[in-house]
């Protein structure tokens, strides 16, 4: 029971951290500050993955998002004009409409979730403690999660795995082509 309290404390702490930083990302007038807070959002989401026992995914999140995508965005920010200070057109038009649309989506999702008990399978237990689930899911150690990932990727999900690698290759070649051809003008 005590461990459950710790779990929930971590959950609410990280959730508040993520939402706070996400709000800064969409409201800050400085593009560079948006980027730094986006990085914190990525780290917080990795923490939420950890709370669900997704150990490998948390590592991937930190490596790819916090390490890779953030650096990519940093390059884009630095290569365009509006690095620091107020970008001319960074903020913002139609704030009222944005709030209305976002609130409508939120209400829609709440309505959906409040009725989604119907869709749950009969075996689902809503009141199981999260820590008990965590312990039951992690077979022995961190290797359990990673091993399960590798086995699933190379057996059941082999075809999507290969397709994704082709997609990555196409994306790399496409990005180089797009970014270079326009420069040789």
């Amino acid at each position: 029971m005590g461990r459950d309290v710790v779990w929930w404390a971590f959950f609410y702490l990280i959730s508040a951290f993520v939402l706070f930083n996400a709000i800064i990302v969409v409201t800050s007038p400085t593009l560079f500050r948006c980027l730094l807070h986006l990085m914190l959002v990525f780290i917080g989401v990795a923490g939420l993955f950890l709370l669900q026992g997704a150990i490998f995914l948390a590592g991937v999140q930190v490596l790819i998002y916090t390490g890779g995508v953030t650096t990519l965005i940093l390059f884009a920010v630095m290569l365009s004009e509006e690095v620091v200070g107020k970008g001319r057109a960074l903020v913002s038009r139609g704030k009222g409409m944005g709030i209305v649309v976002a609130a409508c989506f939120l209400v829609l999702m709440f309505a959906l979730y409040s009725s989604c008990v119907v869709f749950l399978p009969p075996t689902y237990e809503a009141h199981i403690s999260p820590v008990a689930q965590f312990v039951a899911k992690a077979p022995s150690s961190a290797m359990g999660n990673v091993e399960a990932f590798g086995v699933a990727l190379l057996t059941q999900f082999l075809v999507p795995f290969e397709f994704v690698s082709v997609l990555i290759l196409v994306a790399i070649v496409g990005a180089i082509t797009v970014a270079r051809l326009s420069g040789s003008k």
């Binding site: 969409v26 390059f75 944005g98 699933a152």
Partner: protein, 103 residues
């Protein structure tokens, strides 16, 4: 007492609507792509939470999240290459100024 899965779903809905707000109000193309990354993270949270609670003995939810991360990385790669190309040609990254394809 709501289950921890429901907490994850609500958190992810909040994160997604923050992303929607950002996409609708930002005018800088780079900021819009950052908001898209926010929304993709919300989707990943949903995948992981639902997968962990409904199929606790399988890893399918986490695998889908991993595929989403991969495709998101490819999307960010292409998106920012396009932004760089547009910036080189137009000297600006504001989506209101880039209306050459609007008739």
């Amino acid at each position: 007492m709501i289950s921890s899965m429901m907490h994850y779903l609500i958190l992810s809905a909040m994160l997604f609507s923050i992303g929607i707000y950002g996409i609708l109000t930002r005018r800088n193309a780079i900021a819009i792509l950052m908001c898209i990354e926010l929304m993709l993270n919300a989707v990943n949270l949903n995948f992981v939470a639902i997968g962990a609670h409904l199929t606790p003995n399988q890893i399918t939810g986490q695998l889908f999240a991993a595929f989403v991360i991969t495709v998101a990385a490819a999307e960010a790669c292409i998106g920012f290459a396009l932004i760089i190309a547009i910036y080189r040609n137009f000297e600006k990254v504001s989506v209101d100024d880039i209306n050459i394809m609007r008739w």
